[in-house]
Subunit: 333 residues, 4 copies
């Protein structure tokens, strides 16, 4: 089989293709013929050695992908040959609350990921994907889809009629809009790019705010809610947006913090409201399966920007890093 490897940390040029034998499953393992992968910002960070979890040199990159089961070990009970599956972001987080030590194990980081023809993994590390989705669509769910889902279905889940604030037009934000609409919520989407407003509206935004058009864009958001504020934020921006998204919140609202904040500072008055800030990471396998059921029942389709062939994986990385995409960047084949 063919697989890409991070030969050295840096840019996509350091991704080298190798040829290996097709893997054989152990007793509880399955082999998946990967048909599509999608890129997340973490894949760029890993390549640049800026991701908090240190990657192994030589690792096969990419966490998210989908394919079909081609071989199963003798004790496998969750899957059969031919099943259409996706890998989980945290292969050992099955259910229950998050634990950092479990999250330290990740495909495309500490262990070989999905930028290869085949994936070998314990059957516990995968889930079935919705039948109405293509492999390309299914490949977008594990990180971006589940991060959006978990941001809206935490201890204070979205209730129909509530207002959800999304930040930008990245993969998580687009999924968050779609899920929020699916839950009967209203969506206000902020973006720094006026040209993106029609895309945002197309994918569920009931109202949009272009950040650069306001001195303090939280005022514009509050105005759109008659002063009430938004009930939920899926904060994918970072330190630049966080002070405003916090101020956009209703009393007793929740800000689900998905963004990696990096090294700056946050002015303390941003914490003076009555908002709960919930730092969280992707989600468990149980949540992934719940999300897939919701997607399947409602025929929801992920937003795909472009599909690159397997041979052009480096070009896919370059396009993704340009941040000009509208939806998920997929690597097929």
């Amino acid at each position: 089989m063919h697989s890409y490897h991070i030969d050295a940390f840096g840019g996509p040029d350091n991704l080298g293709m190798r040829e290996q034998a097709q893997p054989e499953p152990g007793p509880t393992e399955i082999v998946v013929r990967i048909r599509a992968r999608s890129l997340n910002y973490r894949d760029v960070l890993i390549l640049e050695r800026r991701y908090p979890v240190p990657a192994r040199e030589g690792v096969v990159p990419i966490s998210d992908g989908a394919g079909e089961v081609v071989a199963v070990g003798p004790q496998v009970s969750r899957f059969a040959v031919g099943d259409r599956v996706a890998a989980t972001y945290f292969p050992r987080w099955i259910d229950g609350p998050f634990a950092m030590h479990v999250a330290m194990e990740q495909f495309g980081c500490t262990r070989d990921g999905l930028l290869a023809d085949f994936l070998l993994a314990d059957e516990q590390a995968l889930v079935k994907v919705p039948a109405h989705l293509s492999f390309e669509e299914s490949a977008t769910l594990a990180c971006a889809g589940l991060t959006a889902w978990s941001g809206l279905t935490g201890p204070r889940p979205v209730v129909a009629g509530e207002t959800v604030l999304t930040i930008g037009s990245g993969g998580v934000a687009l999924f968050a809009m779609q899920f929020a609409k699916l839950f009967g919520a209203r969506v206000i989407a902020v973006t720094s790019t006026a040209e993106k407003t029609s895309l945002l509206q197309e994918h569920g935004a009931d109202a949009t705010v272009v950040t650069g058009e306001h001195e303090a864009w939280d005022v514009a958001v509050r105005d759109l809610t008659d002063g009430h504020g938004v009930d939920h934020v899926v904060e994918t921006g970072g330190l630049k947006t966080l002070p405003y998204s916090l101020k956009s919140c209703a009393d007793a609202g929740e800000l689900a913090l998905a963004a990696v904040l990096g090294d700056g500072t946050l002015a303390a008055p941003a914490l003076s409201g009555a908002t709960t800030i919930r730092r969280y990471y992707v989600g468990s396998r149980a949540a992934f399966e719940k999300m897939n059921t919701a997607i399947a029942r409602n025929g929801l389709r992920p937003v795909i920007d472009s599909v690159y062939p397997f041979e052009q994986a480096r070009e896919a990385y370059q396009h993704f890093a340009s941040r000009r995409q509208s939806g998920k960047v997929v690597i097929g084949g």
Copy 2:
């Protein structure tokens, strides 16, 4: 003003019309010109003196209705003249958990209800109604709408992708279907009347089961869920359906018990699964307001069977008692 009164307990013939002076608001009170009311089964029970909360003889009946504010007391802060409002079912249950002693006070039962031209009440006892709804539609929300809403948004709220079971085609069941669809859930509706299946499908049922066509209809429901069972039941049937609806439930599912069960017995094996039975009553004013926001944001419209003029209130009762309606029976004027 004109008002109907329960001159004696029995049937609709005992509803006598009287003429009274239009009420004046006290300091914290408002006067509402009632434009529409809707009937609930409790109104029949009250008339027949079979309702658990004893009604006052001579009381103006009916709990549910909507109208416009025509006068406000000097300390009123929630409403202004001209506001479109509905009365709450339990005028003293503002927020927080249910308390039986609070629920003992009810419009159309312990105190004068809405089958009159005007309602005088403390401003705390009313809510604003969604702008897109007519008075007739707004009059259906307080009991049937909120009972459905509370059945699905309790401590274990419906999550998109889950399956909800509804019982019959009464007002609560129709609202429950609409809300379940609004939340992204799947709806299985059971009915004893094959002719009602198209109505149920029209209002959101993804699948229907006609109870009489099965020896044990829970088997049919389970089959429709690939053996998983339903995640939620809004049980509006009673002792005839409860053993089957319980057996229809998924492990860790919730049955929200809205039905008044009366005097029979329940076979204990019905309680042998792993279902939570949550007995509940309508909902608080805070929940009513949340529901109204959800209805307004999503343009949801209640299902109305028929509208009778104020002068034909008795005929409305008779039609309602016949149980041939499909949707809410409204008394206008």
Copy 3:
């Protein structure tokens, strides 16, 4: 090693001892030298073939026990030789909500249990026990302890100051009293045996009600709460107590139904309050570990009635079945 087996279903006389080779661990397995076991009513039901989950003939009985790890497979990461451990009731329920198909696998029922010198099991099926407890005490936790814990820490957990009702003086009830006191709650304990009241008071009951001394003992319970009712019930009784325990509940209270109800009927008016009935089963491994932390931090000690030597396991069963014990019946050795 020596092990007892259910040679035929019936009574303790059908427990036959056999000699087998000491087990060797597979890659993810551990071998535990069992030092103590405790009996639960389910063990009697299994022996009499009345338990809902059918046991395998020839199975080694008993689910609950504790011992020390004497051998570990090469991939074992949770335990080391010398660790003091207990088996879980449902060896495959790790975390997250209950699932009936997972609960179908049980030690001492579908697979060999703990009435033997050694237990061989996957490392996922065991937990460490609190350091201050003896093996005899540790052997009481898996079923009775965790059933009490889960009954009080569900979706509506006990809050300090609330009142908990316990039924009888069985193992679950005694643990429930201890945990309720640990949580800062008040305990009302009902018993059918006036002689047991001092035992109940000794183990945490703030007040006791002897059922036979009242026509309707729920009235006595309500009186003890100034009419408010109890906030929680851990219902371990059955159909005889359930109608009264339900009527003892406060509005919005929770009855955690641990009892197996069998085949009778329940009068529907028992369901007319505003109580949530939560049917549940023991608890997950994650809950077991939380409970053990609570026990360890607070130095809580299980109540032991008697300890029989391994050779007198049949006598232990007989004593347990007599229902004259006060606390757990343990089989040592």
Copy 4:
């Protein structure tokens, strides 16, 4: 009656005493003979005009106090003459979630407070106090007690066996320790003052950390939890402690943010864990009543540093502002 008033903003010297007529209750009001008050840091901030909610000049200061009912209006139903009561911090927050606009009304700030012989208030604004507490003790509950209670009983309440971190030896921290112990939790208390460690241990701390003795005191806290981290923080410190208390948290832990943070900045890496930050304010009347039940059932007694006579209210303020106290500073009379 005698009452103190904030004649001008500044220090305690600006508190002027006046003589007024004893108030008469309106229909739903009660008159309380105040027997004791306690000081909170907000009272100092209000006096110095640094409190976020602007106080009225001439207002009677102090939010917390207790006394006995001496007159009731004709419609009062919650209280009778002779009842022992305390005022709520937010007189209009009855139940349900926090709302900033409701919190804008406060005794001793926007309306006359408790540093007077009598309080006139709507009956909804008060609660009964535990029978075993003196007026002095009862006067400490409304702000400090309830802030501690709400910090531990939020959407992710403390479970027995969990670890709670408290900051310093102020009134909230001391109550938080007592409640945490009442709930069966372990308490780690940090303090900047080595001399306070024995006080902290006396009131429930299982372990103490003196912040100045460590470069990064979160490491010391984590070590005390075997690296797990604390499950809950009641953060009463501010920007100086927040980065460390956040880093002290276990995965999926909760930091309840009670401190007013002021104007500094927070380094973003403090937000990189997996902790939920829940900003909150005191609590509702319903929570106050639940807390009082817990206090009453368990005989818990607030920690009082000193009691000043009514005539020495200014001295009480001065002592409180010195921050040398250990427990609540009370003004009697």
